[in-house]
């Protein structure tokens, strides 16, 4: 797979240069995503603070989602992150990457189930009001995050299984950066939605 012609694209740079380059790229993408996430959290907190027309969670039968359930979702994500970290620490140990990333991906699937379950069982739709809209947007974005992570996790498992990380073991590290951000984002979202629910002065 090596070529005498000068390097054309990133994948065929020397692995260390490629790793540094990809690391910066992944971090920048995470920064962009962070601003996206913060905007959704801002939406939630700002609408709560404004409480326009006294409509934040004051409709008949309106109730916030269960905070316990929310933190359960966080817990499963954190567990998947730990499993992934364990795999990553194993260097290029093929079996360990397959096992760790596989477990992590399975936990992501579980978390997907939990999150979708929470959305379906929440007992409201975005039509019901500002709280319901803002919460659904945050939960929905968590689902998008999980789907993306699942793609990355499955790819790492598959590539490890095929032994295709030899030249490019840094792929595992790059996905690790994303996984860490996933946990952080989940904690931020959960903190906002569980600590700030009803309007204090309402």
């Amino acid at each position: 797979m090596t070529s005498p012609t000068p390097a054309l694209v990133a994948g065929h740079l020397d692995p260390e240069a490629a790793r540094r380059m990809n690391k910066l790229g992944v971090i920048l993408l995470i920064v962009g995503d962070a601003f996206f996430t913060f905007s959704l959290v801002f939406t939630y907190l700002y609408l709560r603070g404004l409480n326009t027309n006294g409509q934040w969670l004051t409709q008949k039968g309106a109730h916030p989602v269960s905070a316990t359930y929310t933190w359960l979702v966080v817990l499963v994500v954190a567990a998947s992150w730990l499993a992934y970290r364990w795999a990553e620490r194993g260097g290029t140990d093929k079996a360990r990457i397959v096992l760790g990333a596989g477990l992590a991906s399975a936990l992501v699937v579980l978390d997907l189930g939990l999150q979708v379950g929470q959305m379906v069982g929440a007992g409201f739709t975005p039509r019901d009001g500002a709280y319901q809209s803002a919460w659904m947007a945050l939960a929905g974005y968590h689902v998008v995050h999980l789907l993306l992570t699942l793609f990355l996790g499955v790819a790492i498992v598959n590539r490890a299984r095929l032994g295709r990380f030899a030249e490019t073991a840094w792929h595992v590290t790059m996905v690790g950066y994303w996984w860490t951000w996933l946990v952080l984002a989940t904690v931020i979202i959960a903190a906002a939605t569980s600590l700030a629910t009803t309007v204090p002065r309402a």
Binding site: F35, P126, G129
Partner: protein, 658 residues
């Protein structure tokens, strides 16, 4: 990361068939796939979605999903997902595949498929930008035609509002990409001595996302138009017709495109600079473009959120902006301007730094005060994130914050002043070789002075009470975005045209077109300042007899701009087809893009250059820009310097006081 790997680089698991599916994909398959997926989505959603008891959300949901399906289908069809899919499957692209993707030996066909070569992407951006300007400009002419006489019924109010909205968003998109798209992609990697962008496939992705967004934007014309202006203030945008759905899908697609491009250009500039190109030897164009796209990377996600929430409001009946169930238009306004003010500098910075690149070449002097340029760029980029609420002085959302935002806004005048200092200092006692590129510097300094000073009026809260939402604001930001931004982009095009097309831009026709457009521009927007001061609100279809004279003047000016721009366009088309053939370095400039042959070969450099000093050493005896592969036939070509080692300090000759 240890290198004691289990096996030597392993062969592909499954033998890759010569080619694979990606060799059959191009823009046509993209369009077919997009239309198919959109049609299927439309059919499925419109036959299964329930009609909710209140509102008309079903139509909007169907429209949004159909348009999103078009974008996704197009990307699948054009082959954007081949790379990730093969990564998932562990069948990484071979060198042969990558050469295919880069468009090696592919001729003109490479411009019509998912090609990763940054030069192809740059040309694709250039043509797209010009198409968008043509479209947006046509709408502007319709607007001005309607305003020639009061009570004109050239178009009805609904159409007029749509024209204003579509003109606005088209021009915003066009100006955002006008420098960092064509020149940031084509020129910047060569300028820093790289073979390509850091992430070539993402580079192609960002262009084709933009390409996919253009038909969505145009479809808004047939879905009732964008009747809210490009700011799409909620809750007006909640109740607007389905053109708004097209608008929000356009924005989300474009925001992803811009974010990906921003990440890519930033990584390229930070990580891929040639050996010896320290930050102090990096051309200023790189700094400004990176500041701009990095700003875009953080600003656009906020707009994207605003648009997704708008989509939820419209398609699902959510309550983000609907006050009756607890939403607020102020939420939208904040998210919009959190993007909206950095965006102004996303547009301006690349245009100004392009001219900073041009000025030393045509004055045969070093760039004056490189430090000021860096400080100016960083100051503007930093402050621009903290000024958004000056667009909302009269919104009433937080009157106490008016003072602090006035402070940050007026502070921006200091770094902006530094940019003026750099340009004026470089002109000072230069030997100004008055060619088309440097003419843009003069036009920009004239226009941007007016744009900047009128911005000071608007930054003052009491004065803004009288001017907010009036034509004065419209004139002000046209002076900055068009008078400074577009002018800079035209200069950049004239400057890099020989490198990109291999031919010289026709000097006389180009200059006539340029100056006619500049004169028309000043007439148009001086008239607009006048009617704004007299109290004409923005975006009114029928401003009334009181403003007749000013509006007539503006319209005459607008037709003059059209004449000038058409002449300029004619010069471009003529020169592209039949202009005189350009040498590799027709301006005698020193930056690396002029040290490679024209047309630029696939990997830009035969041997990667090593940089030993910066590129502004004009007038310094015996010092010439380093070049790895000096092109044959370069006029005034570099007497190749004795290699001084990659870490030799930039050499400067201090001169006495003037």
């Amino acid at each position: 990361m240890t290198t004691s790997v289990t096996a030597a680089p392993s062969p592909p698991v499954a033998p890759v068939t010569a080619g694979g599916i990606m060799r059959h994909l191009n823009v046509v398959t993209g369009i077919v796939m997009g239309v198919l997926l959109a049609t299927a989505t439309w059919w499925v959603t419109s036959s299964t979605f329930p009609v909710l008891d209140e509102g008309d959300h079903k139509d909007d949901a169907v429209t949004i999903l159909t348009l999103v399906a078009w974008v996704i289908g197009f990307l699948i069809g054009v082959g954007a997902f081949v790379g990730p899919a093969r990564w998932l499957l562990g069948r990484d692209l071979t060198v042969e595949d990558e050469h295919y993707l880069a468009g090696k030996d592919a001729g003109v066909a490479r411009y019509f498929r998912f090609t990763t070569d940054h030069k192809v992407v740059g040309m694709q951006y250039l043509v797209t930008t010009m198409v968008l300007f043509g479209f947006g400009g046509t709408l502007a002419m319709l607007i001005r035609t309607n305003l020639i006489t009061p009570g004109s019924r050239f178009v009805d109010p609904a159409t007029y509002n749509s024209l204003v909205g579509i003109h606005g968003i088209t021009m915003i998109i066009a100006t955002i990409i006008m420098v960092s798209g064509p020149f940031g992609n084509f020129i910047l990697p060569i300028m820093i001595g790289a073979r390509d962008m850091a992430f070539p496939r993402l580079n192609a992705l960002s262009f084709w996302l933009l390409f996919a967004a253009v038909p969505v934007l145009i479809s808004s014309l047939f879905l009732g138009g964008i009747s809210t202006g490009w700011s799409a203030y909620a809750p007006l945008s909640d109740q607007a017709n389905r053109g708004m759905d097209a608008f929000l899908v356009t924005i989300v697609t474009f925001a992803i495109s811009t974010g990906v491009a921003g990440m890519n250009i930033t990584t390229t500039a930070v990580r891929m600079r040639a050996r010896g190109m320290t930050w102090s030897r990096t051309p200023i164009f790189v700094f400004g473009t990176v500041a701009s796209v990095a700003l875009g990377l953080v600003a656009f996600p906020m707009f994207e959120v605003a648009m997704i929430e708008l989509g939820m409001d419209r398609g699902m009946g959510a309550g983000f902006y609907d006050p009756s169930i607890g939403g607020s238009g102020w939420l939208y306004a904040n998210l919009f301007w959190l993007m909206g003010h950095p965006e102004v500098y996303v547009i301006l910075l690349p245009a100004i730094v392009a001219l900073m690149e041009i000025t030393p070449v045509f004055t045969r002097k070093p760039l004056f005060s490189f430090t000021s340029a860096i400080l100016g760029i960083m100051g503007i980029a930093g402050l621009s994130l903290f000024v958004w609420a000056h667009h909302m002085y009269v919104a009433g959302w937080a009157p106490v914050l008016g003072g602090p935002f006035m402070v940050t806004t007026e502070l921006i005048s200091i770094p902006t002043g530094l940019l003026f200092l750099v340009l004026l200092g470089t002109l000072w006692r230069g030997r100004v070789w008055m060619r088309l590129p440097v003419m843009a510097v003069y036009a920009l300094l004239w226009n941007f002075t007016i744009g900047g000073i009128t911005g000071i009026y608007l930054s003052d809260i009491p004065v803004d009470q009288a001017m907010h939402g009036s034509m004065f604001v419209t004139a002000h930001f046209h002076y900055t975005l068009m008078g400074a931004g577009l002018t800079g982009a035209m200069g950049a095009l004239a400057y890099w045209f020989p490198k990109m097309t291999g031919r010289m831009l026709h000097e006389k026709a180009g200059a006539i077109g340029f100056w006619v457009a500049q004169v028309g521009f000043n007439v148009t927007f001086m008239g607009m300042f006048a009617v704004g001061l007299a109290g004409q609100p923005r975006r009114v279809a029928d401003p009334g007899t009181y403003f007749r004279v000013g509006n007539l003047i503006s319209s005459i000016g607008a037709y003059t701009i059209m004449l000038g721009m058409l002449t300029f366009l004619g010069a471009i088309i003529y020169s592209w087809r039949a202009g005189s053939v350009a040498s590799a370095s027709p301006w005698g400039a020193r930056t690396l893009e002029w040290q490679t042959p024209t047309p630029v070969p696939l990997e830009n450099f035969e041997v990667l250059p090593v940089v030993t000093q910066d590129f502004y050493g004009y007038g310094e005896d015996g010092h010439r820009a380093a070049a790895g592969a000096p092109a044959p036939g370069t006029p005034g070509g570099p007497g190749a310097p004795p290699p001084q080692g990659p870490d030799a300090p930039p050499q400067r000759v201090e001169v006495g006081a003037p």
